[in-house]
Point group: C2
Chain length 333, copies 2
DNA sequence: TTGAAAGCGCTAACAC
DNA sequence: GTGTTAGCGCTTTCAA
């Protein structure tokens, strides 16, 4: 089936290609009857405009680049869903790119983003590489960063104040006498993990204490679970904070297999929330980070940037909510 | 920063744009010193070829369309990872599209796929809509379907024989006297679920029995968990088969909260495998469907189709493996 | 209201 | 080995 072009339609409808172009772009000057003739021809031929040619003519692709960390999409998935739903509304296409461990690939991603001339980029990447940003802003293409508070002329961000979330929780625990708090390292989310530490530190310091509960997983251990199984034999905690759901599960399992009952002997809180948090037993208390909104808002901001609409904030903080479940002791009312 | 074009490079290097084109496409006729001059100019100007213009000139975008069901990416995520890894090797870009419940949107997706003139399409979608396929094959664009056994001239598929997996398992259970087997409906995976039923039916029939264990979740129940909590009060099963991990968890939770111990009073098997299966307690026995490979192989097949290499099979079946964990009784050795 | 023609940035004959 | 030029399919002035 030969691909039908605007010329074919023009010939079929007995008009010039300019007129066809006007019809498909709803330029309102076309007379009703010729428009109908063209529309009929389009339908008859099954014509679909070539977005590539349009992109070339307009220097505009209505495509945005999306960069996310590879590996698990459990949490990222929600972000993507939010982003896609909004992108659909505005008819934007999505070019998906994932970042892998190998740092060298970052430049490949930039290369491909620039080459494909996307109109904008959304980056959701924990190990935020500022060199990547710098290079990208060079091409002055609008960028929205998810989960990082940064902004610049062509750069906005949508994020959650994880440090504050942790700060508040830790402060509450310290004030109620549960001062031995650990934060489990998350190698795949170094940045977020650092924010957690920052929040904890602040809470400790404000209470005249100093924080030393960062639990580093030695490289010799294959999983957090393996390490925690050993670690919890020697070290007692009142509360363990994990970033990802799977790390919270690892903590629960390691605890219970060491004879520690959750939440009585050890409380556990997860930062991000996924459906799995309410599926395991005990259910894991967590902050419910609005992951879907993170994606949706990011895309919405990007569309504003793309139409040079200045009515938007460059740094958008979304609210989290703490959801108490069974892995923590009920708060005193 | 004005976007630099091939003309700018040509001028800078004092050659014609044809020569620049040859250099960036590594056409080997260029003399060494002029090539170096061009390369220097490219670097100096920070030139990156415009893939859109290339796409127009070549009628080839080196982009493939990927269609996946939205919602959870826990399992789909692995498929995507596999696909992306291979796509990266062959320098293909990915246009991501998700299908939602609303059936009307399918035509939008096709529309956007055709318009963007991708070179090929990979579809991973349970509720496989054959009308979608028909329309897509009309445009004779190479297509690879994941999780569905179909093929045609420009159509290949990569799949797993879920019916057989279930058949074998069910047969084994029947032969060891555990005949009351239930299959939990999965509304989000109707097709896969039907395959499970087919497999079970076959096993029952071959054993002179008939299968009536399909557990439909009434629409009035919000979750499988809610329904199973009630259902398991009235109905006893030897084995429950779930497609997704979350449904298996629902079954475990519902069972244990009804005083049924897993696996002693009730065994549970999950079809697809995710990391969560080994994180919950009891760990869930499952088939490990090679989800990553599903994506990787699909992409590899697609690249073969794209270069008109005929040395590939149109229907590729991948093997599954059964992994026994704690939600089933140990097989007698 | 419609058509002609230039141009978007690149590739690939075809000349030289 | 390198340059010239005609497309690729579309949008958008500018004329008519």
């Amino acid at each position: 089936m030969k691909r039908v072009t605007i010329y074919d339609v023009a010939k079929e409808a007995n008009v010039s290609l300019a007129t066809v172009s006007r019809v498909i772009n709803s330029v309102d000057v076309v007379r009703k009857d010729t428009r109908e003739r063209v529309e009929a021809a389009i339908k008859r031929l099954g014509y679909k405009p070539n977005a590539i040619a349009q992109g070339l003519a307009l220097s505009k692709t209505t495509t945005i680049g999306l960069v996310v960390p590879e590996a698990s999409f459990t949490f990222t998935g929600n972000v993507i869903n939010g982003l896609l739903d909004v992108a659909r509304i505005y008819k934007y296409n999505i070019m998906l790119n994932t970042t892998t461990e190998g740092i060298s690939e970052i430049s490949d991603i930039i290369e491909s983003i620039i080459k494909s001339r996307v109109d904008g980029v959304v980056i959701y990447n924990d190990k935020m590489d500022y060199s990547m940003l710098k290079e990208l802003t060079n091409y002055d293409i609008p960028i929205v960063i998810i989960n990082n508070k940064v902004s610049d002329e062509k750069l906005s961000s949508v994020y959650i104040d994880i440090a504050r979330a942790v700060y508040e929780k830790v402060d509450e625990y310290i004030k109620t006498g549960r001062k031995k708090i650990g934060i489990i390292q998350d190698r795949k989310n170094n940045f977020a993990c650092q924010l957690m530490i920052d929040g904890a530190k602040k809470a400790y310091e404000e209470n005249g204490l100093s924080f030393d509960g960062f639990i580093q997983i030695p490289g010799t251990y294959r999983t957090s679970y393996d390490f925690l199984s050993d670690h919890l034999k020697e070290e007692r905690y009142d509360l363990l904070l994990a970033y990802r759901d799977s790390q919270a599960f690892a903590a629960v399992n390691a605890a219970e297999e060491n004879g520690l009952s959750v939440p009585n002997d050890l409380e556990i809180i997860c930062i991000i929330d996924t459906k799995y948090n309410s599926m395991v037993r005990p259910r894991i208390s967590s902050f419910s980070i609005p992951s879907y909104d993170l994606g949706a808002v990011a895309m919405r901001v990007l569309t504003k940037m793309l139409k040079n609409d200045d009515a938007y904030e460059h740094e958008i903080e979304l609210n989290y909510l703490y959801t108490e479940r069974e892995s923590t002791k009920p708060a005193k009312k």
